[in-house]
Amino acid sequence: MIPILIGVTLLTFMLFNIFGGDPAQRFAGKHATVEQVQTIRAELGLDRSLPEQYLFFVKQIATADYGRSWASKQLISTMIGDGLGATLSLTVPAFFSSIVFCIGLALFAVWGRGTILDKGTVVTCLALLSISSLVYILALQYLLAFRTGIFPISGWDPSWIGRWQYLYLPWIILFVLSLGPNILIYRTVIMDEVFQDYVRTARAKGMSEQKVFAKHVLKNAMIPIITVIVIEMPFLITGSVLIENFFGIPGLGGTLIKALNDSDFPTIKAFTVISALTYMVFNLLADVLYSVVDPRVKLG
């Protein structure tokens, strides 16, 4: 894990400080004078040597103190803390409700394997996947908010009670967006189990198909399903960038797009490292969990 972390920091650092041209020049804009660029360079610590700057970056990560944003001069750790609440209140309900719904549908599809039920599910999922997520956002916002007025078009209330009314529509959109990929992946996982020997044995001893599914297939499929879910957990943090940007939700995604537009390097760098860390932690968790629930797997 440590070598990967070094890799991530190195990659991020090189991307922005070496390949990206002079950060100070970028930040100052096209019309800045030479003196202005010099001042900015000194102010942001860009006049030091590259190894020095890299070590400083690593120190920031180790102490979880990412400094201040170039654009808003806010502390980046505060920005992330503020954004996290908004993002999670958007993603958590959509993520978990989608999992339950999609596993149910996938079970139905596998139940009707070889029939139109299964084929229809697969083709519908592929069709859902063939439309850009932007179109879902635009169309659903138009239909459910602008045209019919069921939900507010966009907006935000910082209080926990007041924000829900603005979140229903983004939830629906996130839910719809997750249908295609989720059903397909759970269907594949469950389908793998159906052809296993123990399922055939269960049927051979005269067990009803319902019981086979409930007692054997689903139970055993839960192992890979849990792994899939854990690996997808980082989605809770990075999965709603477009929707936050669209609905003006002040979460991490909205902050990130703003940072990209403002050439706000420290913020982008902090986000990259944090999301990579999240990804690594959940992958590790998936491995550990896998060996706990499946005794055949040994951690190497």
Partner: protein, 312 residues
């Protein structure tokens, strides 16, 4: 597998028939995995139809690129701004009076070239790195695994915008950014296959008659794992087109002077409340047709190439 090859030979006679060439096809069908896969693919109607739809898209894309179809799609015509549907403009015209159908047709060229270039780039990187690390093992393997785990740890929604942000916008930079970041799955799969194959008998036999590393990697093992590459290429193609649309929407994609479905959807953002649906409908329909055909084609291809599917 006598039954499988004889049945595909039957299919070949009934379809190709007559000419002398069909004899050659038959003979090859008996002993080639690829012909076997081809005949299995041919029996899948959905796969064949989607293949022809993709070809149609490519043909239209080429015709648009050489200027036969809608040569004036990018020329503004302020007199005709926001006209509604008509025979001259089936999807109406946009804010600058440009024909939306023409823009969508030119969007095919952009989408296909990005899909093609980005997935070729990622395929080459993935194949080479996966092959080298799986074959040589040791330190090389360690390095490649470290490299792809690192790249994989950074979510693409961050990595690709950062990369295009650093490279600047434009068609070429989008495909470089997408290609440089999407090779991980290919590399991982190819590495796994090479680990399995490198100690098999046929590679040992090649070694025994004096084949070098290059010959063993490219001449012997690669053809046996190439089916993975085909499927990955298709998946990468679809992913690249979808990413381009989102990048263009975020203002990090192709240049605004280029026709692109993402830019059309971005325009539509301010138009659907008027309500003016031309841009959104055209871009969505064109994209839907291409991506859905590609998804179905990939599915059929995977089924045809996967020997395990034969008995199911």
């Amino acid at each position: 597998m006598p039954t499988a090859s004889s049945s595909s030979a039957d299919v070949s006679t009934s379809i190709v028939a007559e000419t002398e060439q069909s004899d050659r096809h038959q003979r090859r069908a008996r002993n080639s995995l690829w012909w076997d896969a081809f005949f299995r693919f041919k029996r899948n109607k959905v796969g064949v139809i989607s293949f022809f739809v993709i070809m149609l898209y490519i043909a239209v894309g080429i015709l648009a690129a050489v200027g036969v179809l809608y040569p004036n799609a990018q020329v503004p015509n302020q007199v005709e701004a926001y006209t509604s549907m008509s025979w001259a403009h089936p999807f109406g015209s946009d804010i600058f009076g440009r024909d939306i159908l023409g823009r969508a047709v030119h969007g095919i060229t952009t989408a296909i070239s990005i899909g093609l270039l980005a997935s070729t780039l990622s395929l080459v990187i993935g194949l080479v790195l996966g092959a080298v690390s799986g074959y040589f093992g040791g330190k090389v393997d360690g390095f490649v695994v470290w490299l792809y785990t690192t790249v994989d740890s950074i979510p693409y929604i961050l990595l690709i915008p950062s990369l295009t942000f650093v490279l600047g916008r434009g068609l070429i930079n989008v495909f470089i950014a997408v290609g440089l970041t999407s090779w991980v799955t290919t590399a991982r799969l190819v590495r796994g296959e090479f680990l399995k194959h490198k100690n098999r008998d046929y590679v040992m036999a090649a070694h025994a008659i004096g084949a070098g590393n290059n010959r063993k990697i490219f001449g012997h093992i690669l053809p046996n794992v190439a089916h993975l590459a085909f499927v990955q290429f298709g998946l990468g193609f679809v992913a690249a087109i979808k990413i381009e649309v989102i990048l263009s929407y975020l203002g990090l994609g192709v240049d605004p002077s280029q026709p692109s479905w993402g830019l059309m959807i971005d325009d539509a953002k301010n138009e659907i409340a008027r309500p003016y649906w031309g841009n959104l409908t055209a871009a969505t329909l064109f994209m839907f047709g291409l991506i859905l055909s590609f998804n179905l084609f990939n599915d059929a291809l995977r089924e045809a190439l996967d020997p395990k599917m034969k008995n199911k």
